[in-house]
């Protein structure tokens, strides 16, 4: 950190505000519990005591207004697609989306013949992390969420983006 480094006592760390913000964001991404199908069971298992998502700072919230991450856990039908979009729009920035399971990433088993299924939730909302599996195990979901945290950590919210 250039000039200021090692100028203070041991218990003072000097760091960019930019990095502090992204670090604090990445370590507590509260997620919006949004189970649309069977993947929701694995999401619940991941949040429950054995896998305990809270140890990586993720707390389930029931309202989109309190959440940072939306885990789309399961099949999204056409009827649901409109509501997924609406809920995503209700979330406050910065917001992230994890598409959990085959259905949310690509339509899964309904890929060819499911007339009523949205072929991947990325058609209606931007997705940050895709977790494959049918359904993915809690470990896979946690892996995906750690990937998301890495992504958030690399963000620089205060730096002006170059166009």
């Amino acid at each position: 950190m250039g000039l200021l480094e090692n100028k203070f006592n041991d218990n003072i760390i000097v760091e960019k505000l930019d990095k502090l913000l992204s670090w604090s964001r990445s370590t507590s991404p509260w997620f919006f519990q949004f189970g649309t199908a069977c993947c929701a069971i694995e999401m619940m298992a991941a949040a429950a005591s054995r896998h305990d998502l809270m140890r990586i700072g993720m707390i389930p919230r029931s309202s989109p207004r309190q959440a940072d991450v939306m885990i789309v856990a399961g099949t999204v039908t056409m009827k649901m697609a409109l509501r997924v979009k609406k809920l995503y729009e209700q979330m406050a920035d910065p917001k992230y989306v994890v598409a959990m399971g085959s259905c949310a990433t690509s339509g899964g088993p309904y890929w060819q013949h499911g007339y009523h299924v949205l072929k991947g939730v990325d058609i209606v909302i931007p997705v940050d992390v895709y977790v494959p599996g049918c359904p993915p195990r809690p470990e896979a979901l946690i892996e995906g969420l750690l990937k998301l945290q890495e992504q958030i950590l690399e963000e620089r919210p205060l730096t002006r983006k170059m166009a």
Binding site: M78, K79, A81, L82, W111, Q112, H113, Y115, H116, L118, K119, I123, V124
Partner: protein, 299 residues
């Protein structure tokens, strides 16, 4: 098959050919019963030949044959008298197992077992005498047809009512209420209501009814054309039909007249078309979301 069971089956089949089905139906041993029924089915193709073939070799009428209707009991009685060889010689494993299990029970109190068997035999004989006069019972569907045609002429359209009743569209609303309230039928539970596309411009609604009081079932079918798919609703007769009929409407587009809440139940209200019809064509877009017809390259 051991010679013993074979003999029993032949005797039973001969009896059944003379119109006495009860002795087969009253068999406790399921395996033996089904074997006897299978043999009867074969024998019925040419009853005279069967009679000729086996009537000569009829079984000598000794004491043991008092219990021929129930082989297990006869074996157990033999076992109680110390004759285990016959039991061990039974080829049918299921029967042998059952006999041995029954023997263990009987050995705890041989006297009362013998008394029971004696009583059972007496009872059976009297029942047989009574039931010889009764004709073969008519099925529930035949009974419904008879009752329905008395009340609502031309309401049942099919002649062979073994599996289902094909009901006329016009009489369905009054017939449904009758089926539920008539004391001897009393179909108080609609277990399932669903629909089919039969092709050739025909749609079909099916109703599976059950009576908790009498414990009998029936199936009602109603056919309508695709041009005018309207069926009177039974939602006010059986309340459960509310959602059943909404689902049939959602999937096949059969409109139920008189239903108080005729909306789609699964698909969104603004969806186009009826997915379970054979000529269904998926709409191109839904609220701006493109619906791909079919993706290639994955089977």
């Amino acid at each position: 098959m051991s010679p013993d069971t074979e003999k029993i089956i032949i005797e039973l089949v001969l009896k059944a050919l003379n119109g006495d089905m009860d002795s087969i139906n009253n068999l406790d041993d399921r395996v033996l019963r089904s074997k006897a029924k299978a043999a009867l089915f074969k024998a019925k193709k040419d009853p005279d030949a069967y009679r000729e073939k086996y009537s000569k070799s009829s079984i000598p009428n000794d004491n043991e044959n008092n219990f021929k209707n129930d082989p297990i009991t006869s074996y157990v009685l033999k076992g109680l008298d110390g004759d285990m060889d016959q039991i061990n010689a039974i080829e049918d494993r299921v029967l042998r197992g059952k006999v041995k299990a029954a023997l263990v029970k009987a050995k705890k109190d041989p006297k009362s077992f013998k008394m029971q068997v004696g009583l059972k035999e007496v009872k059976k004989q009297t029942i047989e005498l009574d039931e010889e006069k009764v004709d073969i019972e008519e099925s529930i569907n035949q009974r419904i047809k008879k009752l329905a045609l008395e009340k609502f002429p031309q309401s049942i359209l099919n002649d062979d009512v073994e599996k289902f009743l094909l009901v006329d569209l016009k009489s369905w609303s009054s017939l449904s209420a009758y089926l539920k309230t008539e004391e001897s039928l009393f179909f108080d539970s609609l277990q399932c209501q669903t629909g089919f596309d039969l092709g050739e411009g025909l749609l079909e609604a099916r109703y599976n009814l059950h009576s908790m009081k009498h414990d009998h079932y029936t199936e009602i079918r109603i056919q309508v054309t695709k041009d005018n798919p309207r069926i009177p609703s039974v939602e006010e007769v059986w309340r459960i039909a509310d959602w059943f009929e909404r689902e049939t409407y959602d999937m096949l587009g059969i409109h139920f007249d008189g239903h108080r809440d005729m909306r789609r139940i699964l698909l969104p209200d603004d969806w186009e078309g009826w997915p379970l019809r054979k000529d269904y064509d998926v709409q191109e877009t839904y609220h701006g979301i493109v619906i791909p017809k079919m993706k290639e390259g994955w089977e």
